[in-house]
Symmetry: C2
Subunit: 311 residues, 2 copies
């Protein structure tokens, strides 16, 4: 199987998405120990917290792991310094231009992956020197592209546009969806929502329960004028809908969103006023498993689905 395992030193070509408030060192280490690429989501961390999380992750696993770095983060320079000092093996950048930092990471021996939502951005990431791209479709949770291209349409376009490996994200939560991604030419998958509803995730238990209770149509992409984000329906999401219905301005929407809503929802478990970022595929999740169970089950189903498909 042609995949990203060799490139990043993994047992299986499965990346755990870096998710604010859900993916600390416990989840990252558990995923890496299970053979995938665990990722610390630095977007919700102050620099000193990030350093502590990286050190704990290194203590908990000898395998490669990653840090997800949103490039719009105000303290990005501090984060980069820490990532380099702590010799993090892989960085997954998102929401910005990787070209500004690619040389810094590469010369330090740090592998670099960038998250994209179009083939145009994938080409830019390749030109910047990235080792791989995560191509993430409309169905993905959290922040999302403006063009709304779904994973099924996006992956073949990105695969045809670049020569570096493509890791498919958005709508992937099990072996069948992983196999579909490989059919499209992906060489790895990234799963986010599946690892929110995971024992080692730092998501609040109430959020995990809401994720596995979600049904079809229970998420929607919103706040497109600010930064498109896919949210689980809840009273806060209803408030956003009402604001749109009443013709809210961008400033009014930003004021409604306020600060700290994502922490309130996903980390503190406020299912009423919190912002709950999750993918469409949450409708397919019914249980909370350990990271090892998720990866083992995914690989078994991946192989079974392939055998069943024999043409």
């Amino acid at each position: 199987m042609k995949d990203i395992s060799g490139l990043f030193g993994l047992q299986y070509p499965i990346v755990q998405g870096g998710m604010i408030w859900c993916s600390g060192w416990e989840l990252a280490a558990a995923v890496s120990n299970a053979g995938g690429l665990g990722t610390i989501g630095s977007g919700s961390m102050y620099p000193d917290v990030l350093r502590d999380q990286i050190r704990k992750c290194k203590a908990a696993t000898d395998r490669p792991f990653a840090v997800n770095l949103p490039l719009i983060y105000p303290q990005v320079a501090d984060h980069i310094q820490i990532i380099l000092e702590e010799k993090v093996p892989v960085v997954i950048t998102s929401a910005g231009n990787p070209k500004l930092y690619a040389e810094t990471f590469k010369s330090a021996g740090c592998k670099l992956i960038h998250v994209v939502s179009s083939s145009k951005f994938a080409i830019k990431a390749q030109e910047a020197g990235c080792d791989a791209v995560v191509a993430e479709g409309f169905e993905a949770g959290g922040h999302n592209g403006r063009e709304e291209t779904t994973t099924l349409c996006l992956i073949p376009q990105v695969v045809d546009a670049v020569t570096i490996p493509v890791i498919a994200a958005g709508g992937i939560a099990d072996g069948r969806s992983m196999l579909a991604a490989f059919a499209l030419g992906a060489q790895g998958v990234q799963m986010g929502s599946r690892f929110v509803a995971c024992i080692e995730s730092s998501a609040h238990e109430a959020f995990k329960q809401a994720v596995i209770a979600a049904k079809e149509g229970d998420t929607h992409l919103t706040l497109k004028e600010i930064t498109p984000v896919r949210l689980l329906n809840n009273p806060f999401a209803d408030q956003v809908r009402l604001a749109y219905h009443n013709g809210a301005t961008n400033d009014e929407l930003k004021a409604l969103l306020g600060r700290g809503r994502a922490k309130k929802g996903m980390f503190e478990g406020d299912m009423i006023d919190g912002e709950l970022e999750i993918g469409q595929v949450s409708a397919r999740l019914d249980n909370i498993y350990s990271a090892k169970q998720i990866i083992d089950q995914t690989m078994v189903e991946f192989k079974t689905a392939f055998q069943k498909m024999s043409l």
Copy 2:
């Protein structure tokens, strides 16, 4: 390969979507003659036109073909009468409840497929006695579901919810996307946009050229308050956007849409004021081929992609 070929008497498990103004008898017969299931889109036809189209299709092919029947069509009773009198082998119903007509079709020996956008509707279609469902995702062109579930998320859910065969639609235009649909458990695929940009399609040449010129982000789902529909960006689509921006009421949106815009755009080639229904996958189409070329190329690529994927 477990697929729908045996059920509907096809050489290949490929259904051509029934598309208003684009899929007359020439396209349907060409697809059926090439080994797929050709479909006459009756939604844009008066009863006498439909009868004429069916007769011409029967004269042009000995293979099974289908008529697509939107159940909200005002003259649906007349259409059903004609379909039964002309002994059409397969009917593909959409936009309504197939239960009202299932017994009529089944007792006349007519196979019945219903188009759904959720597993809830798939279960209802199965209970109504349908032989199969087309499960169509958010990326599909034309009229679309309200829940915005993408094909990658939708297919496994529908496959798990029903025992009848599932035909995947939305985002499928070649062998790789077909293979992805089979990986998810589909037993056939329906392609719409791919057959708009087809020599035998009755779409206006200007529309075909616009379809193959489309790039990522050039379609969007709109008019959700009336009937969600995916359109190609053009000045008319810009007018709709502006109306939304100005807080248009549903009545104002309906007035803007008016009557005959789909015919004006897709059949008469008015790229300014016409309504242009097409899927996201148009961004992946670069050429106009014959129906036979499309089907042959799809099957070759389907098998090649499967071999390349060997785990």
